[in-house]
Symmetry: C2
Subunit: 363 residues, 2 copies
């Protein structure tokens, strides 16, 4: 039987738990996290509200909480914008929050990032609870405290590191996830294996068919394992000064794809899937001993609807230099040393990056 | 000879120094704080730019830094608004910052709060350096990591706790401060004495004439002492969970005055001066042994241009209940136990608050 909680310990004695439990357990878990029973603010989106909002309100009311009117935002990446952030501020301040009013972010990565950032900055910080419903949120974005919104110059350029008091991950929510969101989330799962856990990467290959059809036991094991990998990495490096950067494997390429293709053409997961292929190619150019074919065959299992063949490679490369990981004009990339082992380097040439794009284009 | 630095130690091993030194020492102090020499972004306002911006750029250029084009914002509290924050974001991201680009907040409390909040949230946190030029910034707002902007519902409702890497306080800047800003800042100095240091409060009474005419040695001693008091309090309670709340003595009343009178009718310091008189009255109602006359005579020395006699006391009281320190509908107030000793209570009645307003009105 798999464990049903992952604990995150940060410096300064701060810690919190990722609990794998159905949402009906939320009131009990809020109490265990010592949050003050009373008003709370649920922020969700139009996709998720119909499935869980009233149920969650019901659980909370029954346990003696007084949920404020919920806020239902438009689903999608475009909601990570200053205007929507302002809408949360207006709603929350109008509803009469105080510093102990928890914000419950019920949804996928966009809601987690946006509501998390609102919680980080309202009254200089309200207690935050993540209730992730998508795969990408459950294994990645709800863990580690990154919150933020987009700026016209690029994604996630405005934000804060802000840790939740609790993450409650309802694995059943994954069963109702649209297929595209499911397969997109798998990109981050595969990434966790490739950068940090060779055994897990191997398991993913072995179990791939069961994963695609969302076999419950396989999914449970996979999500808890992937969440634990992320938790371990961010516990060691909360503010992304070193180790944590390896989580960006495939992301510098991926962000460029999202940016040049226009938001919506590629999901984040699809862009990362293609980006990992490019990063893998660069990795093998620097280290010919890398088991390229084994890794590439795992990456090719990630479904991607579109190709990057119509995207201008020069523009893609230029965009990478605008990514916020660029330091003093030198592009830092995450590459693989082997399966389960990644590193950061600024010793990559533009030619090698071009070769990476070529490889991803023709994959 | 007074010390020329105050050190702030926070949990998790974080620390930084408040250096009392002329701005020409900034490049040396940046190096000592281990900030990466290269591009940096100076944010200032129209009042301060003419006095210090070019000088500071000169010092930095001479030492091998490459200051990005400086950003000069309109002076005044109205700049603590979402639109001006967005202007900093646009300017900074357009200028090509990366995560190691320091933001230098050159100015008074508004610039420190606004540029500090921009630094806290750009790329999830850039290194922040405070260069406070006003008395209120030097003894209060640059110390403790509070940053933020206003919302139409109230002041400082959006923000973050974000610690600077360095504070460089040039005491000579105080000599060119407009009289109104000088006397307004004295309110926070007096407050620091009343809540935490009876000996300092006594010194202020004794030295009041020298303080008003800004005798250099007296000012130096006073500012360093006041900064050290604030530093001690915030070191013990970075996130305002308990002790730090005493710094709000006079502020819940003061915020209501600022809000009802309309921003600009009272400076923050004037509003706090009047607010402290009201809070003192409430304090003595709860504790008749308080040396009311001694304290009130010190408070009366703080110059205030306007009276609150035209402000509706009912509205003032209602506004206090919207202050972000309100928890679950109970108003928490900071009161004095004695000179140099303050406490927080939620046991104050609306009648006692009204008596406070009456006292401040007729002072």
């Amino acid at each position: 039987m798999a464990q049903d909680a992952v604990h995150i310990n940060l410096n300064g004695g701060r810690s919190y738990a990722i609990q794998f439990a159905p949402f009906r357990a939320v009131p009990r878990l809020l109490a265990a996290a010592e949050l003050r029973k009373g008003p709370c603010l649920i922020v969700t989106d139009t996709n998720v509200a119909g499935l869980y909002l009233e149920k969650l309100r019901g659980y909370l009311l029954k346990a003696g909480w007084s949920p404020l009117p919920g806020l239902i935002l438009p689903a999608g990446e475009r909601s990570k914008a200053p205007e929507l952030l302002q809408q949360i501020y207006d709603h929350a301040l109008g509803a009469g929050i105080d510093r102990q009013t928890p914000v419950l972010a019920l949804g996928g990565g966009v809601i987690g990032d946006l509501a998390g950032y609102a919680a980080a900055t309202l009254l200089r910080g309200l207690p935050l609870v993540h209730l992730p419903t998508s795969l990408i949120a459950q294994v990645d974005s709800s863990i580690g405290g990154k919150t933020g919104i987009n700026h016209s110059v690029g994604k996630n350029l405005i934000g804060a590191f802000y840790q939740p008091k609790l993450v409650c991950t309802d694995l059943d929510a994954l069963q109702s996830l649209p297929e595209l969101e499911w397969t997109s989330g798998l990109a981050e799962v595969v990434k966790h294996g490739l950068i940090a856990d060779a055994e897990f990467a191997h398991e993913l290959s072995t179990n791939w068919d069961r994963i695609l059809r969302r076999d419950k036991n396989t999914v449970r094991h996979m999500v808890i394992k992937a969440a634990a990998i992320k938790a371990r990495i961010v516990s060691e490096d909360e503010r992304e000064s070193s180790l944590r950067a390896i989580l960006n494997f495939g992301h510098t390429f991926g962000h460029a794809i999202e940016r040049i293709a226009g938001y919506g053409q590629f999901t984040h997961g699809e862009a990362v899937a293609v980006g990992m292929r490019a990063a893998l190619k660069v990795s093998v150019l620097l280290n010919p001993d890398l088991p390229y074919t084994t890794i590439d065959s795992l990456l090719k299992r990630l479904p991607v609807r579109n190709s990057i063949k119509d995207l201008d490679p020069t523009k893609l490369t230029q965009t990478m230099y605008f990514d916020k990981k660029v330091q003093a004009g030198r592009l830092r990339l995450v590459l693989l040393r082997g399966i389960g082992s990644a590193y950061v380097t600024d010793k990559v040439t533009e030619e090698q990056i071009s070769a990476g794009w070529d490889s991803a284009r023709n994959a």
